[in-house]
């Protein structure tokens, strides 16, 4: 690689990390404008437990309505959430990139449900990104939940 190629490689990786880390930052601070900004207008998603992931259909959703449903799920059902992500792999090929990211998340019950246990979740994300005029955007992603403890019985999300 030439110096110029190395620099581009580093800059791309750094920008991709910035885009991805806005995902937990947006969710946990309820900054839904920030959350929405990391996606293209349509996104191709699969959010699933590992057991149910095989053969399960993916969904194409509008990023606006996806953001609203994430808001409803996170802001209205838990008092606090914390998503810990570590980016383990980034592959950039021209204007496309993929990234593997580990996740552990804690979901603290709302004030009016003091006896609901903490829902803990772990797993990984596969993010697919595209270089756009506004920087790297996620157009497709997969969440695979590999373990969880104490899922609330009335969770409004079909994982």
């Amino acid at each position: 690689m030439t110096d110029s190629e190395k620099l581009q490689w580093l800059a791309d990786r750094q920008e991709i990390k910035e885009t991805i880390y806005r995902y937990p930052a947006g969710v946990d601070t309820h900054d839904w404008k920030l959350f929405r900004s990391i996606f293209t207008d349509k996104i191709d998603i699969l959010l699933s437990t590992a057991e149910r992931a095989a053969g399960r259909p993916r969904q194409i959703v509008s990023a606006d309505s996806f953001t609203r449903s994430a808001d409803r799920l996170i802001a209205q059902v838990f008092s606090v959430t914390q998503h810990f992500l570590t980016i383990y792999k980034i592959d950039v090929r021209g204007d496309d990139a993929t990234s593997l990211c580990y996740m552990q998340a804690r979901h603290i019950p709302p004030k009016d449900r003091p006896t609901q246990p903490l829902w803990d979740v772990g797993g990984y994300y596969d993010f697919y990104l595209r270089r756009t005029a506004e920087g790297w955007k996620i157009w497709k992603y997969t969440l695979i939940v590999t373990w969880e403890t104490n899922r609330p019985p009335d969770l409004k999300m079909d994982l």
Partner: protein, 157 residues
């Protein structure tokens, strides 16, 4: 440092991280070919809890070591290793990467009464620049805490 040296410094650090992060990725995915590819053919290892860290290191064949780790990890239904790189030092063709770790080990389906084994500690990975990228000839795991260790664990930590 010249600009070109700075660039190489940044580039090496990023490549070292990538090499190290294949360790948790391959273990948790049971991708033993990928796991094996992280190491040189012979590796110098010490995997221990902090209280017993003055014990002798071991030189092992990387193929055998990968099979041993497979045996330990496959005795759990699922594992998740969380690493964060805290310190990286590159000197020419040698590097050190110091990482914090927390890991969860969930019991297999046929042992539903077994507790979740949680542990934390740190790794020191030594890496060598090779034609195939950065490889690990030596590493140390120091486990500083754990809860719920299975009584029949197949590794002497």
């Amino acid at each position: 440092m010249t600009d070109s040296e700075k660039l190489q410094w940044l580039f090496d650090r990023e490549q070292v991280k990538e090499a190290v992060y294949l360790y948790p990725v391959s273990i948790d995915a049971h991708d033993w070919k990928l796991f094996r590819s992280i190491f040189t053919d012979e590796i110098d290892v010490l995997l221990t809890d902090a209280a017993r860290a003055d014990r002798p290191r071991q030189k092992v064949n990387a193929d055998k070591f990968a099979r041993m780790v497979d045996g330990v990890i496959s005795s759990f239904r699922i594992t998740q290793h969380f690493l964060t790189d805290y310190h990286i030092e590159v000197k020419g063709d040698d590097a050190i990467c110091f990482c914090y770790m927390q890991a969860r080990h969930f019991p297999p389906k046929d042992k539903p009464g077994q507790q979740i084994w949680d542990m934390g500690g740190h790794y020191t990975f030594h890496l060598k620049r090779t034609a195939d990228g950065w490889k690990v000839p030596k590493y140390t795991l120091i486990m500083t805490w754990e809860t719920g260790r299975p009584p029949d664990l197949a590794i002497d930590l």
